[in-house]
Amino acid sequence: MNNTIRVLIVDDEDDFRETIVKRLNARKLKAEGASGGRKALEMLKEKEFDVMVLDVKMPDMDGIETLRHVKKITPDVEVIMLTGHASVEFGLKGMQLGAFDYIMKPAPLTELLDTIGQAYNKKKEGA
């Protein structure tokens, strides 16, 4: 079993997404970025991911909508909602739809890493 956690970061902010990906990779995770919901769904079809970090508010297809599709296509993937948006509601709604947790943006990387780790553990237990 490969212990490397495969993470997909979905955010329309390029600078944020790219830096996060770099930083996660630097911490021995296998991270990739997607600039939007559709892109993320395409990538999910091609590759397998353990954890997905999903921004709630994006143009084109928003986080909640993307989450619905993700849960249909690959229900195994644990999703962590990123709420840059002021509302906790979206985070809670995401959790109702099957997201693992939500994190308020901007969050320190350590918090994100913790949550990713927890999500990964949950996925492994479920598997």
Partner: protein
């Protein structure tokens, strides 16, 4: 907008009073006027009847006298009448059953007494009447009743004279009437204690003795009381030309009097009666007084009712206005809050994304600084400090954003570890200068065993600050504020309290203090929102908010916070 309640009060009160008093007065006054007229008319009628009855009695008396004298004059021979002994016998018969006559005389056409019977024999036997006014009158008219005059006897009297014709000779039979008879009849009209009655002739000279003012042959005088020597007697108006019975209501010397006058037939006399309305109108006056009394009572009741009713109305109006103002304020506030929270949410989103990028990039630099072998670079420490500072300030900005969201109340409370005693120290520190200024001492009663709790520092600080501000306002100046903390081991909670030595609150006020917009502070000083916001903050943090107060002793607010 503040209404002018005093103006409304007066308008309303005057409207009620006006609309009820005016009809009441109209009814009362018109009733009074109508009754006054009816009553006066009736009194006038009564007085008219009375004076005519009295006059008729005099008429009858005089008519009887005339017919008796006429009979005597024409049933006796003239030579018999001229015989004084015969006349004396005749007069004795006439005088036997009545005291109407004083004396009798038989006079020839030259005015000389042929015979005289009576008390004034010596004076009158030799008197000549040819030049007396009555002598001519009886010569031309046949029968004559004189006015009262003094005559030769120098005593008031009046006479009835009858002319006797026989062939070409003429004689006169003359009788003096006892004035007491007329006086008696007239004086029967002195009914009440203030009424009067008398007879005057055509030259306004008294023919009878009046009750109050005047003597025979003088003009009548008005006096209100018989024995009042101070009172000036005023002549009555001249009624001597009265041609028909009449009743007048006139004012003499400020006294309201009824005067009834009636001419007496066969004479040139006028009967005058005077009545005081105070006596004859007594029951009417009583009625009038009762009317005035009841009207005044009615007015009093109306005015009292108007005042009480208006007070109640104005109070209700004030209350409604206050409620309206409160609810419109609340609506305004709610709208403001919605707008602000939308704006805050927008700003938060727009600022959070760049902040996240800055934060991640700074983090990335930090990662790189740790990995690469540039720790030996002379500027390594500078890089490291700089990045740390960037992270610090991003963190600071993040807090600002969270506070903004906290203001919008849509954000979960911050969870941070709080040393409660430190928090209290820091917060009281803000107000130490202000309280010292008004001579208020802040006493601290911290327990040592208070654990660190996890909660929202800035929100708790806001609540404590609010309570301290309220405490200072409640005291005003010179007093003690006690701030304390305690660990409740049983329930694993921390209790914080702020107590003041201020004026305290009544039970009614206590029930309202958490209501939005309720304030005991002066107009414009408090929004009435502080405690209601504090209450909702503490509730949101999972705590409890309590208050105890006693009028004159002070108020104590207690917050109980969960440890986690």
């Amino acid at each position: 907008m503040e209404r002018n309640y005093i103006k409304i009060w007066w308008q309303h009160c005057l409207a009620i009073v006006g609309f009820s008093v005016i009809p009441l007065l109209i009814v009362s006054i018109s009733l009074y006027v109508i009754f006054n007229k009816i009553y006066t008319d009736q009194i006038s009628e009564t007085l008219l009847n009375r004076v005519e009855a009295r006059r008729d009695t005099i008429d009858l008396f005089l008519s009887e006298r005339i017919s008796q004298i006429y009979t005597v004059a024409h049933t006796n021979k003239t030579h018999e009448l001229a015989d004084e002994a015969y006349l004396n016998k005749l007069f004795s018969i006439m005088h036997a059953k009545s005291d109407s006559y004083v004396d009798i005389g038989f006079i020839d056409k030259e005015g000389n007494h042929l015979a005289y019977v009576g008390p004034y024999h010596e004076i009158l036997k030799t008197a000549n009447y040819k030049n007396e006014p009555w002598f001519d009158a009886v010569m031309s008219q046949g029968i004559h009743i004189s006015d009262v005059f003094m005559g030769y006897r120098h005593f008031p009297h009046f006479i009835i004279a009858v002319l006797i014709r026989e062939k070409n000779e003429r004689w006169i039979l003359r009788l003096t009437i006892n004035l007491k008879n007329i006086d008696d009849i007239v004086q029967k009209a002195w009914t009440g204690s203030l009424s009067d009655a008398f007879i005057i002739n055509r030259t306004n000279k008294l023919q009878t003795l009046p009750r109050f003012g005047g003597a025979y042959l003088s003009p009548p005088f008005y006096k209100n009381k018989r024995n009042d020597l101070q009172e000036k007697a005023i002549p009555y108006p001249d009624f001597s030309s009265t041609a028909k019975t009449r009743v007048d209501r006139i004012s003499i010397q400020g006294h309201d009097v009824f005067i009834a006058t009636s001419p007496i037939r066969n004479t040139r006399w006028i009967l005058v009666t005077k009545e005081s309305p105070n006596e004859i109108l007594f029951s009417f006056m009583q009625g009038r007084n009762w009317t005035i009394f009841f009207t005044s009572m009615g007015l009093l009741v109306i005015c009292t009712g108007a005042v009480l009713f208006t007070n109640a109305l104005i109070n209700r109006m004030k209350e409604t206005d206050r409620e309206n103002a409160a609810s419109s304020d609340m609506l305004l506030q709610a709208n403001k809050m919605i707008a602000l929270s939308k704006m805050a949410a927008g700003i938060a989103h727009e600022v959070n994304n760049p902040l996240a990028s800055i934060s991640e990039n700074a983090g990335w630099i930090k990662d790189l600084l740790a990995d690469e072998d540039i720790s030996s670079s002379p500027n390594f420490q500078e890089f490291s400090d700089s990045v740390t500072k960037i992270e610090q300030h991003v963190n600071r900005a993040r807090k600002v954003i969270h506070n903004l969201l906290g203001f919008a109340r849509r954000m979960e409370p911050e969870k941070e570890k709080i040393n409660v005693n430190n928090l209290l120290d820091e917060t009281t520190g803000f107000l130490e200068n202000e309280s010292r200024h008004v001579n208020i001492r802040i006493e601290k009663q911290y327990a040592d065993d208070v654990p660190v709790i996890t909660s929202d520092l800035s929100q708790i600080q806001q609540v404590v600050l609010n309570l301290l501000n309220n405490a200072i306002d409640a005291i005003g100046s010179d007093g003690v504020i006690t701030v304390g903390s305690r660990y409740l081991e049983k329930s694993d909670e921390v209790e914080v309290w702020v107590a003041d030595s201020g004026k305290g609150m009544s039970e009614a006020e206590l029930n309202k203090i958490f209501d939005p917009f309720f304030t005991t502070k002066e107009m414009g000083k408090g929004t009435g929102l502080g405690l209601s916001i504090s209450y909702s903050i503490i509730e949101k943090l999972g705590g409890k908010f309590k208050v105890q107060s006693k009028l004159g002793e002070g108020t104590k607010f207690t917050i109980i916070l969960p440890k986690h």
